[in-house]
């Protein structure tokens, strides 16, 4: 149990072992990374004004040339995740540019204080998810950059498939108050696939 509780400040045994786990079945905590969100009828127009390119379809994530990933959760709602290299400045700029007075019909929906952000990686990830999530996330059924807003381990969660190179990988966001519970559920579900917590540096090795 002690080892599980330590996992939020995971220290990898070695970079090599971490990279192997990431390709097979890995879990990284990205909660300290920048992310934000916006909601309201004017949201898509405002985001376009900020140079973000977002398509028509909802429940699809749109990668940006800047490295950001814009997850369109509804026709009027977007969740914006920093890329693998952080994009701290880009997300900060969005947050600072937004103002209730100038962004008509677009309201800030900050995600840093509300959502835990985990990265589930590896060839076994879709099968592992089948134990805790009713939506079929296998590669043939759930295309890259598709979003499922559903129940994961009985928590309301956002799942975004965003592969790292050829390795299946998912963003998993849920209520931060249940982060410890969710982490331990995932560690338990991953165990039969030799899953392990990984350092976020291991994600780079998959690209």
């Amino acid at each position: 149990m002690t080892a599980m509780r330590k996992s939020f400040v995971h220290q990898p045994p070695s970079v090599e072992a971490d990279a192997t786990a990431a390709a097979r079945m890995g879990l990284a905590d990205l909660s300290l990374r920048p992310r934000t969100g916006f909601k309201g009828p004017g949201t898509m127009a405002w985001l376009a004004g900020q140079g973000l390119v977002v398509g028509e379809a909802a429940n699809i994530a749109y990668p940006q040339s800047s490295g950001l990933l814009v997850a369109k959760l509804a026709p009027t709602e977007a969740l914006i995740l920093g890329g693998i290299d952080g994009n701290e400045a880009t997300i900060d700029t969005l947050d600072r540019t937004w103002s209730i007075d100038t962004a008509a019909g677009c309201y800030a929906l900050p995600r840093r204080d509300t959502h835990v952000w985990l990265r589930v990686t590896g060839s076994a990830a879709p099968v592992m998810f089948s134990k805790i999530c009713a939506v079929d996330l296998r590669a043939a059924k759930f295309a890259n950059h598709t979003i499922a807003q559903t129940s994961v381990a009985r928590l309301n969660a956002i799942v975004v498939r965003d592969d790292l190179g050829a390795t299946p990988a998912f963003h998993l966001l849920a209520d931060s108050a249940s982060a410890d519970y969710l982490w331990r559920c995932l560690i338990d579900a991953m165990a039969e696939f030799d899953g392990a917590p990984i350092d976020e540096n291991a994600l780079h090795r998959l690209l």
């Binding site: 429940n59 959760l73 509804a74 009713a134 939506v135 499922a148 807003q149 129940s151 309301n156």
Partner: protein, 89 residues
């Protein structure tokens, strides 16, 4: 049940929100009419129109359900029925 935004999902992801009813004019209705609107449900045997919410997305929509055959006939966004914004004085 099929959520109009998210597609088919387990019924455990949905929350019931009551029958879809027309709101009487709050300024002109009697107390009895208003109490009926707020508290009382028809609960008919047959096809009903109900509010449902997909909890993971907080998305409210309308479902038509046959309570006799326990079948969901159709689900659609509330925008199909409620097209105008209502402002209260």
């Amino acid at each position: 049940m099929t959520c109009p935004l998210n597609g088919p999902r387990n019924i455990s992801e949905f929350v019931y929100g009551g029958e879809v009813v027309t709101m009487p004019d709050p300024a002109r209705s009697t107390d009895a009419e208003w109490a009926d609107y707020v508290f009382l449900e028809e609960n008919p045997a047959g096809v009903v129109r109900e509010w449902w919410c997909h909890a993971p997305t907080s998305f409210w929509f309308i479902a038509e359900r046959d309570t006799v055959r326990d079948e969901i006939l159709r689900t659609y966004p509330a925008g199909e029925v409620f097209k105008d914004r209502i402002d209260f004085p």
